[in-house]
Symmetry: D2
Subunit: 275 residues, 4 copies
């Protein structure tokens, strides 16, 4: 962890994640758990066994005993999703006090995709090349123009320009901002689970995957437990569980009698490897 401290790990075209400071490690999780659950836990299992036990049984408070502070540069539309995670401390660069830099996120062609028809919130196939070039050109031209006008409004007639807090409203959602973000491990893992998921938007997911790497370096035991029990695991509904038991019992079950919708039925079959 000391090796990556202060390093700006690049994300997207101009963004980064940088570890500024951290508190705690795998041993700190164990230490806190032993305060709660007593010395008896010592004999029964080693540190990694205890961390796995805590993760499996969702004893989340010991994981809150680790904290990390990051410096992050990210496009505003990503920042708007990110800030929905409320249990964290944030200090964002203020466009009321300061002038934003001329840096915009312009996706690379392979990340430009059509609207998904199957999923209202997602992306489908990659855009044909000509259309991708057109989109990139539009984004680039509009960003440049917006930023030029931002500077012009700030400059005014040469004496005293428009207040920064007003001029910034002309800037698009792909401009970069930056912030300090401090969060405990439990909430960070929840962030990674949600935003590192394949249903999350590609751009925030790029950050979540970097955060995942950081956690795996910082707390290898906690990370392995999380990867096994949460990331790689799956949740079954009551109907799915009932259905699974019938199948294992040798019964044939159709969607009709499963009590699942067509979509749940598909998800279930994919999950159990019959997809």
């Amino acid at each position: 962890m000391e090796e990556i401290l202060y390093q700006a790990i690049p994300v997207l075209d101009h963004g980064f994640v940088r570890v500024v400071d951290y508190l705690g490690n795998d041993a700190a999780i164990v230490q806190a758990a032993r305060v709660s659950y007593g010395a008896g836990t010592k004999q029964a299992r080693g540190d990694e066994g205890l961390i796995r036990y805590l993760m499996r049984h969702r004893h989340t408070t010991p994981f809150e005993m680790c904290e990390i502070k990051l410096h992050i540069k990210l496009p505003i539309f990503v920042a708007r999703q990110w800030i929905r995670h409320r249990t964290a401390n944030v200090n964002e660069y203020s466009a009321r006090y300061s002038i934003l830099d001329r840096e915009f996120y312009i996706p690379s062609p392979e990340n430009l995709a059509v609207q998904s028809t199957a999923n209202a919130q997602g992306r489908g196939e990659v855009l044909p090349q000509a259309e991708a070039e057109q989109v990139i050109d539009t984004l680039r031209t509009d960003s440049e123009a917006a930023y030029e006008h931002y500077l012009q409004m700030l400059a005014g007639d040469g004496r005293s320009g428009l207040a920064r807090e007003l001029a910034r409203m002309n800037l698009p959602a792909n401009i970069y901002t930056q912030w300090y973000w401090k969060i405990d491990l439990h909430n960070l893992l929840h962030f990674i689970a949600l935003r590192g998921d394949t249903h999350a938007q590609f751009e925030i997911r790029a950050y979540a995957l970097v955060l995942a790497d950081i956690v795996s370096t910082w707390l290898p035991m906690a990370w392995r437990a999380f990867a096994d029990y949460e990331l790689g695991g799956a949740h079954l509904s009551a109907a799915q569980l009932k259905c699974l038991r019938r199948i294992l019992n040798g019964e044939k079950v159709s969607q009709d009698e499963s009590g699942m919708s067509a979509r749940e039925w598909r998800e279930f079959n994919t999950l159990i490897g019959r997809g």
Copy 2:
């Protein structure tokens, strides 16, 4: 309160605040306080006296027993300040799922001001008319262009356009979004104190003042106590308090011996009416 329920109270050029639902009233604050502080509080003072006592001594938990749910339409740069208040529930219109409306905040000329030279985060005098017209023209033209390109990217080549979650990054911070926002009274009053303050940006302040009106209709006793103890009151530092006592004692005190910076000294003199 029932009279204003569901009414969209206009704010700025296209925004609104609408009360969707609420829980509790002045009597509910009193009721919760009496659970905490016992029946003895009953004899000593009436309901309003008790509410004033709670406010004066910062017994904040009874105020958390009231809750309000609002539907709000607001520009994105206002939403970005707003969301920093973390102790609230939010459901925002998603530009991943849906197409944003063609509505942008364009300030009226009297609300366009130059950057303040005294205050790094504030506005100074109103912009000269010619410059104001220029700014409004720029904002309007850029907003329109950005929205046209947004629609074009969504439409694509006629078959299947760019994913909504990507196209939206071209839209500027003055486009309107909307959300459901649910918050308890204690945190709402804190929001009003910070965002209704004269140092807050005009645009979010416009919303805070509407929220203040709503609270004064909903909970007249709590509002009066808040206006007297918080909004209309003032905080003195240790140095200011010491200095005040010396003045009341007939001494002459200069800034040099006050222990205050020039700025604090000015603020102090304004506060006590010697500004």
Copy 3:
């Protein structure tokens, strides 16, 4: 819901749960979800389908749009577990201001159990009758004595007794306290999932089951979705999922090659109905 409003629903020997007020219903969840996810959600599925979709995909914010306020009477050792749920508003009866009532939780014999040997935090079999009678007698006698001494210390020598904030320290953890507790639905369901679980202590579980009943009356659709996807469902780890697929593929899998501990292996077999 209106029928049970204000009714004290009994729990344990002297406790109760009473609905004081609430905000929102199933329709409010749907309404908030449609602000977020747009009109498109309307055609695809009815209200119950949408609520099930939100629950299945852990879109939790629409569930935060419902709020409930309860008046609860509970033993202090239960209150100490309860208060660990931080995202809620609380007004507790204050033993600094007021004198606590002479009411103690005395378990009935069938709820007195030996320390579990399998589970460090749990109960095993019911205590033999003679021993149960002994325990009940001890609890009753000690409670009575502690309360008598509490009153004596408060009374003092007849002029002015010990401060209430000091005298209360003599009272045991089975004395009853009461509070107003206000919480949003998302956090309430989390409470019910944790505290209504068979691993939770019997006494707090008794409250969680009453809360479950209240939610099922208040929000029948949300409750059914929660019961199907959360309460009745199960979580599989990556190792369990892999193992399940091998079994369904006709392979024989032993614990040795499963990558699971003995305990996880037992839990897995119980889960899939091979216990």
Copy 4:
């Protein structure tokens, strides 16, 4: 700070506060503030000036960038007040898993006071010696008896005793518990302001004063700003401010025309040094 790390600082008769870890220092507050408020803040004032500015204008987010983890041993009735501060992470010693130690808080005679007649929640004069001895004797005897019976119930008839989660309900509120408590600086200062206040109960105040010492060692600049602007300062209501201005203007003001209650009037006169 490194010097006091891991040291158990004694509080009350058996309690302690021990710094386990911390993140950030005065420079970290400045660093976070400069991300938010831009480079311009650098020229204007040095680090201490900036911290004072942040404190005076209640820019609280940079103070959230420091975090501290403490190991604390405290009586349960203190823990019950403490836990009301929700924005913190806690791992408490679990009396479901482990057996509590035989340690009880027994106040020293000079801290035993009569119930205040002026203040429903407070203490008045110290108890006469004979009565104090009586109280101490009662507390000691009842604690010992409760603990003996706790052990007897746990031991049972020699084979298998009562479950720990049940036996603990016989223990009084002056028994000691312990926990890990992790909190950011902003919320810690709020805790110190409330619980270090002269209106707080003596026992929790003893802890708050130790926390104050720790902060003044850890972050001397932030502490001085807090002491000057918050601890040593005072809040004036609108009525008090108006009255003050009239007095400074040479007018005589009586309580009748002040708009204040008798109690507020007394508080006001004490505040301005005319008490």
